[in-house]
């Protein structure tokens, strides 16, 4: 069956720059002197350390247990010794530090004995627990814990596997699909087994013919190998950024538009990155926890390409391996459309790190000076959400935040299309981030203020109540006193009268 494709509004077609890094096969990375493994690597929680400084650990051994329902486990990426457990700067725009286990590799790469789990025999609960215990989170960048998504009790019609890889420069999913298609297809089948989807579609942008061919062959090989009767379909989709955004891909492949604030599962769709499907297969069929990922290193480097990187490898180790060229003025993590400038090269690679780009002024020229908006509407034509970015910009600039809300500011996915096309070179996404944070801060203030008001009113009410009670008590006492006085008076008067009576 050939799936009918749908169109999403807007989008852009930037220069893909995929060839730089997609030609060479995935390469291994020599062990770095130390690995910094953060405890929190999923978007819904982290891990609780179960090792202490000085412990010897094996490759693939759990070193942090999933904490809470949304947490995911972390594992030793190689064999070695736990050197310290301390706060380290993370690969995040803020550069904030976070708790990490620092491992010194012993160079022997001794594996823990793997314990595969046959999806056909294991119960659903066992499988979900294993996915959580293997530390599997969404590898497309959002790092949403997979056991939560696939464990959702919704009726799922369609399972989507995202191999679109729409950001320029990034090719890690492309190489993964070319080289490890069988594992991706096997992982997709396990995910389908878990959510009971009626069909499985793998969306791949049509600028990756080799990946499409490899995946099609793997899907063909897997035909009839299980009793589900559901085949994995490979669907080439038009190359148009941001076709790889989850909601855009769901739109393209199913026609369904998931509104902001809603989740795909409620519409009968679940979407996983190809890397996540691959990791699920490795975890269950091979008993290997998530300890590495494919990272594209590209841009202004001597040896661009894709590398199998142990989680916790410091970024500078990879740039050293690829040979930074002179003229590099900053380093990006992620793609050029949505990635961020790394504040520190000491930060480690984590489960969501898909790409490192060495940026130079030649490859990434600084934007020309900002000019006034002339409402030409190019941004509105490019917006995949159908927003009017220029209207948001005018509202944000004037701090008319109610208007910004009315124009659906919080539906903005910050994909960057509007800023990419703007002829006045306005950094629109920056304005939207600013407006969002201002509105959030204002809402927080409002909340705090209304709480303070509630507290104040409660206090006033309490004081008044106490005053009233006190008054009532006083009044009662006074009445009592008066009564007793009156009684006393009466007695005195009676006594006096008695005394005055002539004897």
């Amino acid at each position: 069956m050939i799936a009918r494709l749908f169109h999403f509004r807007g989008g852009i077609e930037p220069d893909p720059h995929k060839r730089e890094s997609s030609a060479a096969p995935i390469r291994p990375v020599p062990l770095p002197p130390k690995l910094i493994v953060p405890l929190i690597q999923g978007s819904r929680g982290g891990a609780r350390t179960i090792v202490t400084v000085g412990d010897k650990v094996l490759k693939g051994q759990c070193i942090g247990e999933a904490e809470g329902a949304g947490g995911t486990a972390i594992h030793a990426p190689t064999s070695g010794t736990v050197m310290e457990i301390d706060r380290y700067p993370m690969a995040h725009p803020s550069g904030l530090a976070s708790l990490a286990i620092v491992l010194e590799p012993d160079g022997e790469e001794r594996w823990i004995t793997p314990e595969p789990l046959d999806p056909a025999r294991a119960s659903r609960e066992e499988l979900l627990l294993r996915i959580q215990a293997s530390g599997i989170v969404g590898m497309g960048g959002a790092t949403f814990p997979s056991h939560i998504k696939i464990g959702k009790e919704s009726r799922i019609d369609t399972l989507l596997i995202n191999g679109a890889e729409c950001e320029p420069w990034i090719t890690c999913d492309d190489r993964l699909m070319r080289e490890r298609a069988a594992d991706i297809v096997a992982g997709a089948k396990i995910l389908r087994h878990l959510n009971g989807a009626r069909r499985v579609l793998v969306g791949i942008e049509d600028n990756k013919p080799e990946a499409i061919a490899a995946m099609t062959a793997a899907a063909h090989d897997a035909h009839g190998k299980d009793d589900s009767g559901v085949d994995v379909e490979i669907v080439p989709i038009p190359t148009r950024y941001p076709a790889g955004g989850e909601k855009q891909l769901i739109r393209v492949l199913t026609g369904i538009e998931i509104p902001a604030g809603k989740i795909a599962s409620d519409f009968g769709v679940q979407c996983f990155n190809v890397g996540t499907a691959h990791a699920v297969c490795r975890a269950l069929a091979h008993g290997e926890a998530m300890i590495s990922r494919i990272v594209t290193v590209t841009g202004n480097v001597e040896r661009p390409g894709n590398y199998e990187v142990l989680l916790g490898t410091p970024v500078h180790h990879l740039f050293a391996l690829c040979g930074l060229r002179p003229g590099t003025d900053r380093k990006l993590m992620g793609g050029p459309m949505m990635g961020f400038t790394l504040p520190s090269l000491d930060a480690p690679i984590t489960k969501g790190s898909n790409c490192l780009i060495a940026a130079s002024p030649e490859l990434f020229p600084p934007p020309p000076p900002e000019q006034p908006c002339i409402r030409c509407g190019t941004c509105a034509r490019s917006c995949p959400i159908g927003l009017q970015p220029f209207a948001l910009y005018w509202a944000g600039r004037a701090k008319r935040f109610d208007d910004a809300n009315r124009y659906h500011l919080f539906d903005c996915i910050e994909c960057g299309c509007c800023a990419y096309v703007c002829p006045a070179h306005i950094p629109l996404v920056d304005y939207f981030r600013f407006a969002k944070s201002e509105i959030r801060a204002r809402d927080e203030e409002d909340k705090a203020a209304s709480q303070a008001r509630a507290r104040f009113e409660a206090r006033v009410a309490r004081l008044e109540r106490e005053k009233a009670e006190k008054a009532a008590r006083l009044a009662a006492k006074a009445a009592e006193t008066r009564a007793s006085l009156a009684a006393g008076d009466a007695a005195l008067i009676a006594a006096a009268q008695k005394n005055q009576e002539p004897a």
Partner: protein
Amino acid sequence: MSSPHIRQPASVQRIMLTVLLALLPGIAVYIWQIGAAILVNIAIASATALATEAFILKLRKRPLAITLGDGSALVTAWLIALALPCIVPWWLTVLAVLAAIAGAKHLYGGIGQNPFNPAMIAYCSMIVAYPAIMSQWPAPGHTDFAAQFHLILGGSRDIDGITGATALDAMRTGLRNHANVDAILASGTFGFAGGRGWEWLAVGYLLGGGILLARRIIDWRLPLGFIAGLGGTAALFWLISPERFPSPLFHLASGGAMLAAFFIVTDPVTAASTPRGKLIFAAGVGILAWIVRSFGAYPEGIAFGVLLMNICVPWIDRHTQPAIFGQQQETRP
């Protein structure tokens, strides 16, 4: 620096230069049919616009190079020159440009901030202030440059033989005298569609509009809305009473209709900005233009239509916000 880290090569300057380029076919026809005096007017308007823009930017302590180089002042200047009769005295062109650049544009905060179309402000203020001079249009075919240049320099306005009634003027006068449309059209003023000679100008602007549409500089909804508004209203009344109302073709080929359709109502700063809003805005201009032409005190009403609809833009935009992603659910396949 934050994302996105790449940008498409595009600039406001490139947009404005494309608009100027798209005006060239119209200008070429103008020179051929009406006379080369238009070039003098364009030069006067351009020089005044750049000087005024530079002076005011300096007063407002704004960077000169970026704004002066964006080409927007030149676009305004050229449009004013094309909207005014090309034999107006030089000082009238200067005043018109001053009204547009200093008044309509910079008093509101400069490029992007003005609610009213600067060229139309210029046209309206001049037609109100100097109705006589503004009604003297050169007759097509009399491309006597020396005579036209003499008028521009402010020479005595001995205009017999140089000027002639425009199509809209002749139609209006004829109808006021209770002649019927066909009889009026039979006079020598008219050609195959509008005013003889002038109608070729409409073709020139149409050609330029095609360039702008192809380059996606303008949104098709604006010219379409305007043509539908003006042509549709004209068609309705023409069908009811063809003796009293000229045809839609006449309306579209006469006066500034084609210039307005592709270069005036398409000004992104002052037009409505939502897809439906653009259609409503432009149709409104067309309808108002027809009303002024048919019943108003002036033969041409587009400029008034534009300014009136400019006032409505915030309201139109507010009530025509398009549905966003997820608001319109398509049925599942």
